[in-house]
Amino acid sequence: MGRGRRTAAAHGDVSLTATLPPSSERAPLISIRDVRKSYRMAGEEVPILKGVDLEVMAGDFLAIIGPSGSGKSTLMNVIGCLDTPTSGSYKLDGQEVGGLSENRLAEVRNRGIGFIFQSFHLLPRMTARENVELPLIYRGLSGKERREAAEAALAKVGLADRMDHRPNQLSGGQMQRVAIARALAGHPPILLADEPTGALDTKTGAEVLGLVQELNRQGHTIVLITHDLDVAAKAGRIAFMKDGLLTEEGGDAREAFARHPHGLEQHSR
């Protein structure tokens, strides 16, 4: 436990402000080069990612869209350092993530990425505030620092009056806002949202999406993964995932999408 605290002290300033070092301002926050990932299933090597390239700059709002089975969840796991690629290079904030140990990856997840999951992934026995404090516990912050950061984050998502409610006392939209507050609390450079509106009805989904857009306007870098074209349309950039390949950027991507409309049609309904 001692090491955790030491690291926290050493990086204390950086972690709380999330400002990038000036020298890397023009370098991409996420730089993925030819990332491949394959799983062994029933003795056969099944490729899921077949050479993905992606760059995300600070302040971007990128939506990755694709049908299920296209590999976008696997890509999200790789971006989120929940899974390691089979080959290829992934630089997060200038740091190569590929060869890192499990402990270092946990630290990268803790400091570098704020996760927003489709099914919220809140711990049911904890209050909203305790849930938001969770990543800060693993960062080694003191109780007082955690409470302040958690309260600020919950206030930011408009839940200042629900801090001591447990998830089962909150609506779906409120739960997702708690999850967003949890992702924000540690001021990570990237927010990674996996189908953030997938478990919500249209109205609350739109509210949550509005919050995400608002966060982007405030300067947060957001990578959003969805199969819903309407959701993706809110993003500044859209990348299309299909059969393990990512087709990036405006015109090209839309052309690619136009050539294979059915893959998306099925899922956007």
Partner: protein, 393 residues
């Protein structure tokens, strides 16, 4: 992550599954309670035994003649000279014993009382003095005097508490004896009360019981070191008297008795340690089982924690603290149960003594059981890959 944080997490998980936690700590609870109360009982009975052995006196040897008939008993002169020529003997006291009904006026003892015929040396050898009156004198032996000393309990039975019997006359098997002394209280030794007896001159007792021989000789050795030598010399002498028939006599050594008693209680302690180990092992397996269930159930929670930055050791620590909390809580409740059981046993007449270090050991041990048996499930939890754990339903 700090210890306090870990303990808080463990508690919230324990409180979330109260019944399950209670059931899984039951094994440890029963184990600890059993161990402490068994050891308390063992200690209680060991205390009683050692108190009784204390009544035997120190450095005592007892020669018992077990043969039958006049040719296989010692005569009084033989008994009195048994120690002659043997170094390291402080004193020697031949005894003839039997039992007789005692009566004072219209009061009769409920059952017959042990009557011991003794010599004047008995007083110093057994360290058993009259608190009032006098002891038996050499002249009493020569004159076959009908005088008696009463044990404190016997005196109370015949004369009532606080009444001095000295100078009164009692009847032993219908024969009048003058009470010349009242013995001091001495308690019991090896189950026989020293306070419920009547001492008379040995010659008088031989007449009373119509026996010529002496069957018991108590020998006091000068020191513990000389006891073995004295025993050997007595063996040689007795062997000569009984012409090599070693079955006719037996020499009992009070130190040996103590050693036997000690080794008995040691054996009991070892057995209890075995019982302890087994019951705590069973308890530990119970905890391991419940922790494995808990890990499976909370796979998603582990995934969430890992996604949010929990390192392997954070998860390991969390589950270890949880296992150790369950087991030490079980241990603490077991200690409480043991104190309750001991109180009940005391009330029903079983001597118990709970020693504080046994309580401490069993608590520490139960906490350790939790850590040892929690290690495997905790490691299982900590080794989960975040992506797999998150996908778990």
């Amino acid at each position: 992550m700090k210890l306090s944080q870990g303990i808080r997490m463990a508690w919230s998980s324990i409180l979330a599954n109260k019944l399950r936690t209670a059931l899984s700590m039951l094994g440890i609870l029963i184990g600890v309670a059993t161990v402490i109360s068994l050891v308390a009982m063992g200690q209680g009975s060991a205390n009683e035994v050692s108190a009784q052995l204390q009544g035997l006196g120190t450095n005592m040897l007892s020669v018992n003649v077990t043969g039958r008939g006049s040719s296989t008993t010692l005569t009084l002169p033989q008994a009195e000279t048994l120690g002659d020529g043997i170094d390291g003997i402080d004193g020697l006291s031949p005894t003839v014993s039997g039992s007789a009904a005692a009566r004072y006026g219209s009061v009769q003892t409920e059952s017959s009382v042990t009557v011991e015929g003794v010599t004047p040396d008995y007083e110093d050898v057994q360290d058993f003095h009259p608190q009032e009156g006098r002891f038996i004198a050499p002249l009493d032996l020569e004159a076959y005097s009908k005088v008696a000393l009463l044990g404190i309990d016997t005196s109370e039975e015949l004369f009532g508490p606080g009444v001095s019997p000295v100078g009164e006359t009692i009847l032993l098997s219908g024969v009048k004896y003058k009470v010349v002394g009242l013995l001091e209280p001495k308690g019991t030794s090896l189950g026989a009360s020293n306070d419920e007896k009547i001492l008379v001159p040995i010659t008088t007792a031989q007449r009373l019981f119509q026996s010529e021989g002496v069957r018991t000789v108590a020998v006091k050795a000068a020191s513990e070191e000389t006891m073995d030598a004295v025993t050997a010399a007595l063996e040689a002498k007795l062997s000569a008297i009984f012409r090599g028939n070693t079955n006719s006599y037996r020499i009992t050594n009070s130190e040996e008795l103590k050693e036997t008693a000690t080794s008995v209680s040691k054996t009991m302690s070892t057995m209890m340690a075995g019982v302890a180990a087994i019951s705590l092992l069973v308890g530990g397996i119970g905890i391991m089982n419940i922790m494995l269930v808990s890990v499976t159930e909370r796979t998603r929670e582990i995934g969430i924690r890992k996604a949010l930055g929990a390192r392997k050791r954070d998860v390991l620590f969390q589950f270890l603290v949880e296992a150790a909390s369950i087991s030490s809580l079980g241990g603490a409740l077991g200690i409480a149960a043991a104190f309750g059981a001991a109180a009940i046993m005391e009330r029903t007449g079983t001597a118990t003594q709970i020693e504080s270090d046994i309580v401490l050991y069993s608590f520490v041990f139960s906490a350790l059981v939790g850590i040892v048996f929690g290690l495997f499930p905790a490691n299982k939890a900590a080794s989960l890959k975040p992506v797999d754990a998150l996908r778990h339903d």
